[in-house]
Symmetry: C2
Subunit: 404 residues, 2 copies
DNA sequence: CCACTTATGTTCAATAATTTACATTATTGA
DNA sequence: TCAATAATGTAAATTATTGAACATAAGTGG
């Protein structure tokens, strides 16, 4: 039986997952790389890559890499071949976006948020707004590949649920995926915002630094880390919870968790705001604190410096335990720059063994309000283009058909 | 051109790596499992497995698994198809062994050790003794697959070198692999003993507990952890170094590292021995301490209990940071049983958030002097049978030819 | 003992992938 | 401009893998 070009293309496409995964992960960005990375023959790679190119999933960039002979052409996933939806729940607002595969924002919006509303209503509004964004993205960017939700609370990533009491009261153990997956018809991911910010820093600013720690110092304090290139979540997704490690002392302050002397109660935005208020400078959260620091209020600078030392104290423990090669400090308080950072550096160098600090870099994150959104996009992309799942993506795409 | 049975067998063997890896890792222990796990067709699996069986690399066990119909026969790597060499440098002696693929000891020996001798001479003696063991193992167990060396000091696993100052003075940055690899003609691995004990506990006693922490409380204090099923080493192999985390207090004792208030200086075997000596009970190391505890010396029991609380304090920090689902406490001091463990439990439950301790088990390791040796064996096996490297093993085996 | 169920092996035609050999292309440097 | 170099494409022959169909094996529960 003869086969026409289209069905030959489709059958090549069905086997092209490995190729697509390699291109998407940037493990192989040229045809020659693909040959060695995949172990397949040139004939096969040519054929499968041809199918991916024809389907519009992969494209040739204008870049080439010198090779000594004919330069090799750089390949990339076609950013406009599909899109993602992401949302980040903040203190008072929810930021939402449709993103292409770069990932870059196609379209975004903001809606108000109140904890009092409860998860069902909030998720309903999120679904509605994401639906609107999807509508607009679909015309230019084809299929929806995945949806990601960032939450300011511990999340059991495997189960997609908020775990433990948190600022999102009423959300504990609520089945978020069941509520939303149907509405949007794509794989759904829920993750803690700090882990997503960590992933963003790793993928976007420090690719290749496979053992790094991200500290978010804002109104609360949390951390995330990349272990051997993977977000490390621990048994229940609660890894990196450094805000409630205690240091005892005579004046140990009461924490909102009910214990005394937690890092948060000493160094988080709310704790500094509490101390500033007592000194006669009204402040409520990390933003207020940074405002006072930026207007050169000595008391605020002093307290931020002290907070840096407290964070440094706990960070030194983390360094001893996980031995990262990079620490990125982000969150609102990081806008205090060296005032915060110097205390962190001081304590780490003071308390850690030289071996652990020998090659350790400690840097500030660029202030970026949307890093959790981008992190969510990377999370989706990593999973959807992973070798194990890329087949599903191609099937989904094959059905939707190629885009012009 | 016709092909005889032998060459057909050999070509199947060359492609049988994936099958072998699945059987070795116990990811698939039956033919049916292999079909689904490999994704290959039954014809191919039958053929490749046949080659592995013919080569003597894999064998059928007498066990079967019920299935509702014909039971499926359990497959396993043939433990006697090849062997490993391992060595563990302790305080005063070096334990060495040839092991089969179970891993189980085929033959073992002990030689004296003195730091003063320096790495070159010590490694020379180790090579000679391992050579002797290899000679004996070779007759019954075919090819040597790998050699592992366990050291009581931080090791940069990737580079196979001791890093930083340690009890092994003179070993820092010494190129161990260059010194030994040639002499033995097999892949060579060097790793820290605590990480190997951790790996042993994971593989041997708690398979499936993919996020676990092992604490070694002996003359020194260290820890290792399994993150998502892998030994977590950090950037320089120094992860888990909890012995030199400091807790400040008025009476902070001086540590052998030169800082004050380290966990080691408060709770390690040498620190308890120091305190006991001051109280009039001569003791030098963890063994002496346990001796006094076992003879019901109240002072020793009190100090061990106190050490448990100190270890619990640092362990609670570790729990907050990495969120394990299991803590295994081993090392000489663990022979103190509940006396040590109760303090650890107490502090962890007191200082960690309920979320992190909700499903956390804290248990004692079985006392086992050879756990680092077994851990080294597992380390070699994991690597040699890994999908990426199993091809090399088969090549090596193909050249050596099948055993009867 | 028998029917039922699932595991396992085998044959053979169809399909997929590789190897080989040759051809073409896009650069660099003489 | 021309050789040198390595990337890339392709046809044909060879080899590997699959799927389907059939056969047999080894348990379970009547």
């Amino acid at each position: 039986m003869l086969k026409d070009a289209t069905s030959a293309d489709l059958s090549s496409l069905a086997n092209a997952g490995e190729i697509l995964s390699l291109v998407a992960s940037r493990a192989a960005t040229s045809r020659s790389d693909l040959l060695t990375a995949s172990g397949l023959s040139r004939v096969t790679v040519t054929q499968r890559l041809g199918a991916l190119l024809a389907a519009g999933l992969v494209r040739e960039t204008s870049r080439t890499l010198p090779s000594g002979g004919r330069p090799t052409r750089v390949l990339a996933v076609n950013e406009t071949a599909a899109f993602l939806l992401v949302a980040n729940i903040g203190e008072t607002h929810i930021h939402l976006a449709a993103m292409d595969l770069t990932p870059a924002v196609i379209r975004q919006s903001t809606i108000p948020f109140s904890v009092a509303e409860g998860p069902a209503a909030t998720l309903g509004r999120i679904a509605a707004e994401l639906g609107r964004l999807a509508q607009e993205a679909r015309s230019s960017h084809g299929v929806l590949l995945g949806v990601g939700l960032s939450l300011p609370t511990p999340v059991d990533f495997k189960r997609g649920r908020v775990v433990g009491p948190s600022v999102l009261s009423g959300w504990d153990e609520y089945d978020i995926i069941a509520r939303l997956q149907g509405a949007l018809g794509a794989p759904f991911y829920v993750e803690n915002d700090v882990n997503l910010m960590t992933l963003y820093e790793y993928r976007h600013n420090f690719p290749g630094v496979d053992d790094m720690l991200f500290i978010k110092a804002g109104t609360g304090i949390g951390s995330g880390f990349i272990a051997s290139g993977q977000v490390f979540r621990g048994a229940q997704g609660a890894a990196g919870d450094i805000g409630h490690i205690q240091f005892l002392s005579d004046d140990a302050p009461l924490c909102r968790c009910g214990k005394f002397g937690c890092v948060e109660a000493r160094a988080a935005g709310w704790a500094i705001a509490r101390d500033l208020s007592r000194l006669g400078f009204p402040a409520e959260n990390a933003r207020d604190v940074i405002g006072l620091v930026e207007s050169q209020t000595p008391e605020a600078i002093m307290l931020l410096r002290k907070a840096g030392r407290t964070i440094g104290e706990v960070a030194s423990d983390v360094v001893s335990i996980i031995n990262p090669s990079l620490i990125v400090v982000g969150g609102t308080l990081a806008r205090g720059g060296e005032i915060l950072l110097s205390g962190i550096r001081e304590l780490i160098y003071q308390r850690c063994l030289p071996l652990a600090t020998r090659d350790l870099r400690i840097v500030l994150a660029e202030p970026d309000a949307d890093s959790a959104l981008f992190g969510a996009a990377h999370l989706i992309l990593d999973d959807v283009f992973s070798p194990a799942k890329v087949g599903g993506l191609i099937a989904r795409f094959g059905i939707a058909g190629p885009r012009s």
